[in-house]
Point group: D2
Chain length 438, copies 4
């Protein structure tokens, strides 16, 4: 069986790469994955999976960090213009952009696989040393880029849909493929979990590719995900003519600059790693007007929830006092959040065993990496109900010596596309393993 799966996976490599490159060309930010979601839904439907999408798979009030209506409308139209599936696009109006495919195969456990679909607000490198640019599949949406591999994840999800369809007679139970929007900013998972998609899951798999690990390395049981709070802070002061009567202004930019410096200076904590970032600041209107408004996009993280809350509480005090220093009003807008979570040892061990059997290996033990990932909402819910969850990392680095490592969230991010078939191979094999004897 595993040999068969391996053969099927390897045989679809060209198609996986083609799908990934198509998605790479048309990256979409969180909650605007209209083209991506419509094509995912279309493909699942074509493969005879039951398809739910949009508002059917989200709890509306738990969606965080949703863009303004005009941004959503413009993105929807761009999706239509860039080859989104018209029928599915119609179903995506006015709700989230998640897609869920279901394959029912009689009695047996419910196995869920979750993939994320969104891109990042990064302008892709146009250097000829950057393969997507050199080979012509770089982003065509200015300022947006798949710089975290979600294009690959989505392609893998569709590959698994095909593989599992072809071995359906060997499956006992239900498979649920969850294509989640807005993982960047940890904004999307909460609303899908809120819609009940993890409530009945026995086994959950999450996966991520890492171009800074060697191709072929596979670590089953990632954990130590950092807890995080994402929020915007809006400072409102008063404008004034900067030349004529500067003393009349309430300078929101000075308040913001004061806050920024002090936010980064929040003391380290003896209990473990903490993080803070002000990822974006926008302040002021015209050059000769004392800035009357500032908006900061902030996130805090901690190795555990207490540490993230320590950072968050300090951040609030700094923002409040910075605002007061300049007579500004302060508004805090929650934009995303994720708890910490860990993989279940039993399922992790089983996954690593399957990995070994399909030719993947592990060089080193899993270690916490300081990153956040809202897969943790799914993991926690599944674990709360007695299920098991595992997060699997796949090396996608280039094997040649001397190559520099490519890191996520940079404008020259790239990965070895051979990882796609390896991901399909293992995730399908583990699913089969769980549903054959499960």
């Amino acid at each position: 069986m595993l040999r068969l799966l391996t053969r099927i996976s390897d045989g679809m490599e060209d198609r996986l790469i083609e799908t990934r490159r198509d998605l790479h060309r048309f990256p979409e930010l969180g909650w605007t994955e209209f083209r991506t979601a419509s094509l995912v839904a279309r493909r699942l439907a074509d493969l005879d999976w039951e398809v739910r999408l949009g508002r059917e798979v989200h709890r509306e009030e738990s969606r965080m960090g949703v863009p303004a209506p005009d941004v959503l409308a413009a993105a929807w139209e761009r999706a239509r213009d860039q080859g989104g599936d018209p029928q599915m696009l119609a179903r995506l109006k006015g709700g989230g952009t998640g897609v869920v495919g279901t394959l029912r195969a009689g009695e047996g456990p419910t196995v869920a696989l979750r993939f994320d679909m969104d891109a990042l607000p990064i302008r892709e490198s146009q250097s000829p040393e950057h393969r997507p640019s050199r080979e012509g599949f770089a982003s065509q949406n200015p300022g947006v880029m798949h710089a975290c591999g979600h294009d690959g994840h989505t392609a893998v999800g569709l590959g698994i849909a095909e593989v599992l369809g072809r071995v359906k007679e060997h499956l006992h139970g239900t498979v649920r493929l969850i294509f989640q929007p807005a993982e960047e900013g940890v904004r999307g998972a909460k609303s899908m979990v809120g819609a009940g998609l993890a409530d009945d899951v026995d086994y959950l798999m999450g996966s991520h590719l890492f171009p800074d690990w060697a191709l072929g390395e596979t670590i089953c049981g990632l954990g130590g995900y950092a807890a995080t709070e994402k929020f915007d802070a809006v400072l409102k002061g008063a404008p004034a003519h900067a030349g004529a009567n500067p003393q009349d202004g309430k300078n929101a930019l000075l308040a913001a600059a004061t806050a920024v410096l002090n936010l980064f200076a929040i003391p380290r904590h003896e209990d473990g790693a903490t993080r803070i970032n002000v990822g974006r600041l926008e302040a002021g209107s015209g050059r000769n007007v004392v800035p009357a408004e500032a908006r900061l996009m902030i996130e805090t993280r901690g190795a555990n929830s207490d540490l993230s809350q320590y950072m968050y509480a300090h951040a609030l005090r700094i923002l409040e006092t910075s605002a007061a220093m300049y007579g500004c009003k302060l508004e805090i807008l929650p934009m995303g959040a994720a708890p910490s979570a860990d993989s279940d040892p039993a399922l992790s061990k089983r996954a690593q065993e399957v990995a070994r059997r399909v030719g993947l290996y592990r060089y080193r033990p899993p270690a916490p990496n300081g990153g956040s990932e809202d897969l943790t909402y799914f993991m926690r819910r599944v674990q709360e109900h007695g299920g098991q969850a595992v997060s699997i990392g796949f090396g996608a680095g280039l094997l040649q010596a001397g190559e520099s490592v490519l890191r996520a969230h940079t404008d020259d991010f790239d990965f070895d596309e051979r990882v796609l078939r390896l991901m399909v191979r293992l995730l399908a094999a583990l699913t089969l393993d769980l549903m054959n004897r499960g």
Copy 2:
């Protein structure tokens, strides 16, 4: 004669107000005054003035702070959609947005009057206490507002074109009406002066209305305009994932925040007033990415050019060292400038005398106000060639007791529209005075 002019001016009050309100409804930022300029040019042509516009009246390489091509293109299309004159719009493609009208009346001095046309990036108040909103002529272009009275100035210029046309037989010499774009940010005058428009001028008049002076007060001989430098600073660092590997980022926002605080802290100078403003700061991309880029819009001012240069030199050092602190690259982009200048006492005295004769008065002596105004480029050029220049301020406040003063560059800026006919009255009378006996 003066009585006649007064009668004509007063008789056109309704039209002046109508024109001003039309312009108020469709405000346009500097270098995008396509609708305004096209309508000005159309009206001048209809009144039989010779009309030059666009690239004919600008020295291209001296235009400062010109928006990006796509912004210009969008503004041009909006102008077309909002009732701009099609024929004149065609002539405004691909160059500046200034308009110059000429009236030739035989031998005699060349008299120039300069008016500015652009609006400010301020969102107009929608409060019912704000008259433009209450009476339905508030800005229809979101985020743009005539908050400095240039709508009134432009209407006055057109009123004068009409008045002078009607008394043409009393004029000896040449009248040049200069409608300048991009006065805000002191970006437009240099390129019009560079096109030679002040080289042959014997008498130059500039004018501005002030809602914080009483209606009827008129000060001939404003001066002490502050020298100023306007520039953008762009900091370029390196992105990194803020949770996973924050140490790899070169944080352009921290560099910018450090610069902002220190820019405002440049020491006061014993020689006189100095100013600095960072009117806008934009930094970073996504929330979880260490900000790799920041852009600051900055201006310095000084009571004289040395003081402005003192501020500018300090600002450069602060920006350079802030960039170096975070390993960022720094680029400085000049965006505007104006020298200091003063009115000629002789012409000022003559203007004040004419003002008295047409029923306007003066409460107090002129005083420097700390503001900048690129009229000074015209003034300096005219004075260098032996001509005389005067800048005239007109009170446009509300006479009732208890009214609060409205200040320029605020979102509830307004003025008493009766000032429009007073401005036409005096400026036309002074022109006639200069060209009758000149």
Copy 3:
């Protein structure tokens, strides 16, 4: 008569210089002028002036910025060791360090002349280019220096005591010579005015030498003294081990650094010159302890009292919010203050006329210089009671071309000592003029 005075003044030049250099050698900070005051009092007594000193001439509760008792005690002992007058030193224990000499000459106006005696906390330059070092009269009190000319002022006051004594038969009225401590920091005047020393004064003269004006220039009628507030801010947080548990600290230094940057960044004011300085900051205890305390020495100034209050109010808010940002307690301690004041035009004119008659001249009109001076307390009180006050500036620069100007409050401050006899000459002449015909 004036010729006589001139001859006497010129004849005492060597003694004036000797006195000045002796004082220069043993500079004393504000409220610790024990040696200086004791020698002044001794000399006055020897010249047969009535002498009051110490607590007799201060209102104790109005003394500002008085050092700690142990500092005073140590200074008193040093004064004894450095040749202070033992008898007068005994009278100086436990009170202020002011000295007042009185000469009674029958009926007539009361004329007061005020001189300041204190030095600055500056380490004097030891460069051979610095004349006091080269010629062996540099400060012998480490870290303290007469860098503002008060040594010269005090010598002049004693010279006048001698001159006036010699022409006593020509005087009608009362002369009061006021030797004030603690002018630096504007701490001393208030308490002497509070003791009634200005209540009955008809004419008050203050004087200052300026090495950045040419020797011989004399400006009668200085004014535009800046109003000022001097105060200390003490921030108290909590210590913690910086390595083990940094999160437990309340970092008073971070609060102070935040305050410092924002204090200097208080917006300029359209109404005129403002100043702020944090002249000293001391924070923290050990290197590995989170700083639990910080003390800032601050002053604000303004061209008038409203402007100084504008700065002061902003400063308080910045300090309060900076403290709150780090959970610190804030204490504000008033340390000095002076109002703004101007010379009386009538007395100024009379003084300038006398100056002309004794061979001194004026190059330019008086201009405000942004400095503060607590002579203003005396001036205001005298003016409130119907008297007149004048502040006179004496040029003490070197006449040779190419010499660089020496500025006050620098470690190489120096002046042309010939100014001393010129000061005696004019101040004595003006006193005689006022008391001869007054």
Copy 4:
């Protein structure tokens, strides 16, 4: 044997406490432990140990962070006045303040025990809730306090000298008791190691008491000591009169405040814990003088040497650019350093076994705590030469429920003095164990 040792140790409890309280009363900062060292040397001599001290036990050029000569001289005199041993004090002039006692007992291994003697610049709490104050043994040296337990350590070292003397006949080899100065600031160890004191050591023991662990808990094998760099940064600008000509100053305080904020904001590092502290800042001279000089006392730390160097390199860049921002010169003065180090597992295990046998126990495994300790210089040298080292922690908390934990480096630090005899008991027992069979 162990029972005997235990009896002896327990029997000397009163004397241990008395010694500790005497030292607590007269705390001395690093390199000024003249009284402490002289009494230690006296006691060792009285117990018939060979005694070396002062320059005999330090490599002069490796002493870091030594106070100025006048500070040393004053401390020496105070030590004499506060009961230091006159003869030993004489030997301590002009060198370090370390003391080494040697006991020779024939052939066998060399066993070294190291104790630290210095106090901290903290003003001790005078609250009656603080036992040293309540019971009358609080610090009599203002601003200095034994807030880290070194008074206890020193008392323990003397206790061991007595115990080992009494069991000398059971020992085979050489015992070296090293009393080290200036552990705070990690300034003293390098110079003692540089003098060769660790070169021939077979077994090294370091020890520390911890009032936040329960009395009786003993962890043998502490490690993970943070690497650290200690240094001062001196900024030199230019003074100016803050009111008259503020623009002429080069403000070292603004440079320092900018540095402080950015130093604390150095990004966290993915590889592990980092720390930075600016423990003290002193800037400026007088209130009305633009601050011309600033001194910062700084330390960086890292979980390993690379991380400490990462912090240090960033700190240097921030200081250099902050200085350049204000035209200041920068000087960096190294003041202390310590590498990271770990206990040897074999010796740790043996120590824990002995601990168990003398009635001490262990609740939990050792964990790195982020602190630095220059014991690591001794440990590394011993390990380099093939010897073994162990660092042992002793709980000294109060056992009653509800007591709040007392942390090191706070002004109310205290510990359960019963720990003293437990420390003597184990350290003597381990020495005996090593030298009996070693």
